[in-house]
Each structure stands twice: as C-alpha cells, then as structure tokens.
Symmetry: C2
Subunit: 300 residues, 2 copies
C-alpha cells in the first residue's frame, strides 16, 4: 500500500505547533523520507515512524526549512547503530554541507551513506516495487518535485480456472506476468482466461516549493494524490509570485489540470493561524482537496 504521512506542513518559520516540511512516503514496509526540516527526527518519534525502515531520503531544495534536520538525522542514525545503506538525493551542494559538518565533529558514520546529486528530470529509483522520478519546479533556487509510482503488481490467478486447465505449478509465475499457456498438444490457453488484471500502480506526486507552473503538469499527470504547496491564500497572489510560492487556488488549478485524484495542501505561511480558508478556496476549484495535517497518513 502506498501512503504518505505528514511530519511538517509549515513554511519557513515554525508556528502554531506546525513544523517545517517533511513527509514519509511508505510502500509495503519501505520508508522514503521527503524533505527534512529542522526537528524532523523529533516529529518521527512523535508519530512513531520507524527510523530503521528509512532507506532513501529526497531533499527538494536547499532552503533550510526543507533540510536543516537532515544532518542531525544522519548523525542519530549512526548513534542508534543503523546498519542499512542510506541513499540521499538532493541538489549537489548538499554533499559538501553534510561532509563539512561530519568532518568538524570528527564523525564517522556506522553505515554506508550514498549521496546522489539530482539535476533536471531523472529516474532516481527503479526497482520491482517502485519508480521514483524527480522533475524541476519553479522556485527561487534550484528545486525538485518527486513522483512515486507503484509498479504494476502481478496479475491474479483465477484458481478454479488454473486447476481446471491443469496448469503446472511451475508456470504460475509466468501466468502472473501475463504469459499464455501452451499445452503439450499445442493448445493455447489464453492468459486472460486464467488470471485477472493486476490492480493499477498508484502514483503520488510531491510538488515541493514552486510558483504556479503548468510545465510541471506532464510530470504529475493522473497522480492519485498530489501534494502542492499553498503558502498563501489567494488574495496574496502577488506576494506568492514574487516569492516563487503558490496560493490555495493556484494549487487547485494545477491539480485540476493534472487530473489528480486528490490534492493535499501544505507549506502554509506562519502568518496563518487558522487554515480553513485554504480548504474553502481550493475546493471551489478542485473539490477533492484536503489539508496535509501533521501526524496524519493519507492513503494514495
């Protein structure tokens, strides 16, 4: 099951018990951390995210509210004797920032840390379960969104039909992959008589920080859930534009044009104590909008 748990939904300055950006995307027991603002490791404890399950961390850009918690988390992994390899993806200067802080502290991590510099549009992870891509957003500095696409699952056997047609056990995996069966007499038993279609792979798109940017749409098209920042309400469109951020309505317009299933709004400015108005404004354009609330897991 693909899901996303929100650890921080605020913009730059923490406020009203809202924290800087961080999310955990989970897929069948694997955890992918997306951005890591200051205090992320504390939020992970608060919401019982198992640190040991994190194998990949994606940093969208190098504004502090998206990565100042990273070096502390990497340190803690080591102090907690994390053994798994850890892969960090982010803009290239991140490597030097991390390494410098490790060096002055005379820290040697107890696990293998692999840093992957991201640039442009690329496939970052591609394994049997998931494909993870990055794409550029339009922000004040180099910034990337990420798309998590669950791989198509195997087809499901129709057990009665499989038995009736005397398909040998060793051919079951091939059936799941879609192969027809040919009997020794040369008779073709077509796969669709023996299996049902696999459930469609789900897709989650994280649009990071960005101004209103239709160039992003092809990358996130058809996602089941889109997270889009909404730093401001729509009466501050000018400010959003000037600061390379978006408004509630702009986020909704992107979700609508991308034919998303559901929109999650986050990265709220610290000037807002109450968030209801974000929902009202966004739902007027894209009804299936929700606030990305800290501590809540959203099924994709």
């Amino acid at each position: 099951m693909l899901a996303v748990t929100i650890l921080g939904n605020n913009s730059a300055v923490p406020a009203f018990d809202r924290h800087p950006t961080s999310q955990v995307v989970t897929l069948d027991g694997q955890h992918f951390l997306v951005d890591c603002g200051e205090g992320t490791q504390i939020q992970m404890m608060r919401y019982k995210i198992r640190r040991g399950k994190i194998s990949h961390i994606f940093i969208s850009h190098l504004h502090g509210d998206h990565y100042f918690g990273l070096v502390g988390l990497l340190n803690s992994f080591s102090l907690l004797n994390h053994q798994q390899e850890l892969h960090v993806y982010g803009p290239s200067p991140l490597k030097e920032i991390i390494e410098m802080q490790m060096k002055v502290a005379d820290t040697t991590l107890c696990y293998s840390l692999h840093f992957h510099s991201i640039t442009g549009e690329a496939v970052l992870v591609d394994n049997e379960k998931v494909e993870i891509k990055c794409f550029p957003t339009q922000h004040r500095i180099e910034c990337y969104g990420f798309v998590f696409r669950e791989k198509k699952k195997p087809r499901k056997l129709i057990l009665d039909a499989v038995k009736e047609n005397l398909i040998p056990l060793h051919f079951y995996d091939k059936l799941k992959e879609g192969a027809d069966f040919v009997t020794s007499a040369g008779e073709v038993i077509r796969n669709e008589w023996l299996t049902t279609a696999a459930p469609r792979g789900r897709q989650y798109a994280y649009c990071a920080d960005t101004k209103y940017n239709e160039a992003m749409i092809p990358h996130i098209q058809g996602s089941d859930v889109v997270y889009h920042e909404a730093t401001y309400l729509d009466n501050l469109r000018d400010r959003a534009e000037a600061r390379f951020h978006s408004t509630s309505v702009q986020a909704a317009e992107i979700a609508k044009k991308a034919e998303a299933g559901r929109l999650l709004l986050g990265h709220f400015s610290s000037k807002y104590d109450q968030l209801d108005e974000f929902l009202t404004e966004s739902r007027a354009v894209f009804p299936n909008t929700d606030l990305a609330l800290e501590g809540v897991s959203y099924r994709v």
Copy 2:
C-alpha cells in the same frame, strides 16, 4: 537578576521528550543563548523566550547536538525581521558552515551578524552589566565552557544620611561609585556613612561537554551556580572516560572542589528514561544538586 532557563538537557539523540543542549542566560532583560541544538527555536517558542532579546549566542563545540539548530534560528531571525545586531561566538569552522548554508539558499540576512571565533581562554564580552569568559574543556573535539559574571552593582544610598549631610544631587552617582564627599569647608564625609555595599555580582558557569577535568576549576571557582554535564551514572565511569563525558559523581566532585553554590546536571544519555538516580548519586557528594529541567528557570 541573573538566571538560566534550560531549553534542552539531553545528549546526542533526542529521547523521552528531552531535547539536545540549549540554555538561555538572562540578565536584566538581556538574553544570551548558550548552545543551540536542533529544535532550539521550537523550544524557545514553547517556553516563551523572546527571540528579539537575544543579542549573543555562544556555541561550545561543533558536535551537532550543540549547534544544529543555529542556522535555522539565524534564518528565522531574518524572516521575523530581527533588527538588532547579533554576535555569535564559537569554534572557527562554524563561520564557514553557516556561510555555506546561507549561500546555497541565496539568503541575505536582514540584520548584522558578527561571528567571533573563540580559542583558548578569553574574555568574550565585557560591558557595564556582565563579563563573559570562555575556557577550554576536555572533550573529544575542541570545546569551551562559559562563565557569566554579573558586574558589581552601584552602592546603595542611605537616603536619610545623604539628606542630613546635604550632599548635592549631582554627587549621587559618585557616591554610588564609592567616592567620599568633601564639603566646601574641607570636611570629609566618608562614603560608608552615606551608602551601603553593593550586592555581590553573581556568577554562572556552563561547563559544556567534558570529561572529569580539574583544570577547569580555577575558571569556575566560587560560581553561584555551575552547570556540569552528567551523561552517565557513575557505574559507567569507564564509558564516560572513553567518550570524554562525565558521570553524576564526577560532576559533583568538580562542583565541590570549585566551591559552587549549586550544581545543575544535564546532557543525560538517551539510555536513561528516569533521572532520579543522577540526583541521588550527585547529592551524596554535593548536596545542593538539581537536575537541569527543560522549561525551568534557575535563579543564579
């Protein structure tokens, strides 16, 4: 009034709702931040520390649990339109670490930030209210403690005596500084007939991270309050030694030898859920021991 408010009392990994090291020393409305572990700005909000009053920040050493919250705090000051000059004192590589992170984020602070590299034993601040010194501790990497000494206050006028002796108003400030008054007839009216002694300036010593180290004692001698780390209980003396940390009993021995008024223990290892035993062990050697508890202000 000199006081210290604890924002974080835990060692490296946050645990049991205890946070990495940070304290605020307050003196007559001025705030001095001592160390700044990850999440310090959130702890400041939690305990209603007014960020705008902070003018000086002291970083003892470059292990992350003592400074990973600094760059986020410096950023937030700017986003909150802090106008006052800010002075940061710490080991020299800190400057480059901060500057690099500001540079990649394309951040220009809205206030003047002055970085002061510390080394050896030195007077860092000396004004009419306070003298602040650093001294080296004995840790795995370069590390400093800090001593805050309240300047001696002016003597207090004995108003009846002042009036009776017809001391002119313009001479009151000189009286407070200790001067005798000489009448036009050449008669000396001695200061001690006209004033009472100023209250003694109080002293707070922050011993940062350190192994048991008697060389520190001359620096903290006679402090009204000493903060000393106690990462471990005394049965883990060997581990403390190996990791350049101290135990409850070692902290108490230092406080006793330094003739401190009171000892505050902090920097507890994440392995300890309960802290009572730290008190028991330390008080057996130095009775006036307390735990440095988060959110609590201790008068010096």
